[in-house]
Symmetry: C3
Subunit: 199 residues, 3 copies
């Protein structure tokens, strides 16, 4: 099984895994790396140098830039904005051409660990690491590292709770309790086992 | 008069009303329902199962998902994000495949009543009802139901005023006054009659 | 040298400068004005009547509406939303058709001066002037005029600092100091000279 590309999509990378589907008007550039069994929505964009794991869902209009790594099982909601430059200027402006001639001078990396969910219209400032299975609420602006299983909300995003692998938030103080949705058990360090290992 | 589709647009639904125009790179999926005399901007997307009324304006890049209903006369600004899943995870992740096999387990509906306006880049958390003619300010994040004719702003969106059918906000305490723009009169319950019925 | 248009792009304007590149699925409408040496990303949109200067970078999914002027050297991050109507309603709604029949009744202009940077997913409410070289942080919502060289953040955006021509913020009180990045000197009025004139 190879990847599927909608007739209006452009898939220029040879590193797209089997079972991955790329939908209408989406664009995967040469040298972008995309794993198996992903779903890349209409009008999405994966830039050369970006790294996308297996089983990842990119909803419509998401752009994944060079410098951004999405590990396996990540969900990226519609219109989410990643970034890869802390102090962007138009690279065509005379005063900054030197800076943009060398990626070491401007490119800042971002890592989204396994199983994270990023809600619609959220913004991820580059240079951060989103811990596995964390959830970024829709519209939030992430400006610093996020702990695994944290639920983040607001502008700038602050931790407002803890989520399970399944995505459901736990009630306050819930880190020591089971998730009412799936009975996954909290590990003693406040992180949750995957459903598989918890049962 | 039938609908117009730009040569680069994809209109796969047979339920698109007459006089509706679908612009460049926009995509209306099979079984999406779109009324008459709508305008669907470039790069917009209407999913199977979405319902769009008559005289609706979808600006560029708007995505209307299954579970979202837009009644007649609604305005949706550019890059507005709707959602239809409260606890999104990548459906391809092994631990949640059961959830995504049954829409009853994840799909949450949203209703945008007649004449609402949703400003650019706003985010609408699913499960809410936006009362008729309300206005959501650009960039706001709507997390709960909105009263008719309310002006909502911020993150999360809070009511900051009242608007007329024409869209103009009233001065503070204006619920009992005429709108300076169109002289529509406030009804006793603090809601405004349409221009037609108020005269 | 003329402009370059990707095979999937639509460039309908004859007023696009030499050296400008328009990428996949982007759309530059008739009578849009675009300068030389610009870069217009995938899925971007420049409307009839919009004015874009030289050396401007529009990242993916940006829409530049009629009424918006971007001067030379401007950077617009991905998914940034401009607006051009303070009180938008669907123009197809019967009660407001009169308003939308006359641009003087609804179209509000925005000016982004030379060298400004607008971060990803920011929202610019129409009617404002962004002073030259100011920086709008990612996700910010700009509701009023911005001073030159100001660093703006939040919702609504507030001034949190001062930036250099190169984009780097200065330390607090830095208006009288050199930028540690490029040694540009602050002029006595608290604004920075361009690198060229400062040396």
């Amino acid at each position: 099984m190879s990847c599927y590309a909608h007739p209006t999509a452009l898939v220029e990378s040879e590193a797209v895994g089997s079972g991955t589907r790329v939908w209408a008007y989406a664009h995967v550039l040469k040298n972008a790396q995309v794993g198996e069994n992903c779903n890349i929505g209409d009008h999405a964009f994966v830039e050369s140098g970006a790294v996308v794991g297996n089983n990842v869902t990119l909803k419509n209009h998401v752009c994944v830039w060079e410098g951004v790594t999405l590990e396996d099982d990540v969900f990226v909601g519609p219109q989410v904005a990643f970034t890869n430059d802390r102090y962007p200027r138009s690279p065509r402006m005379a005063e900054v051409r030197g800076r943009y001639a060398d990626k070491n001078l401007w490119l800042v990396k971002t890592v989204v660990e396994q199983g994270c969910s990023i809600g619609a219209n959220a913004t991820i400032i580059c240079g951060v690491r989103l811990g596995r299975y964390c959830v970024i609420a829709a519209g939030a602006i992430v400006t610093k590292d996020v702990e695994p299983f944290a639920l983040m909300m607001g502008s700038p995003a602050r931790r407002v709770g803890t989520v399970c692998v399944c995505g459901e938030p736990l009630a306050a103080g819930g880190e020591s309790k089971s998730c009412s949705n799936c009975q996954a058990k909290a590990a003693e360090n406040g992180h949750f086992q995957s459903h598989g290992s918890a049962r």
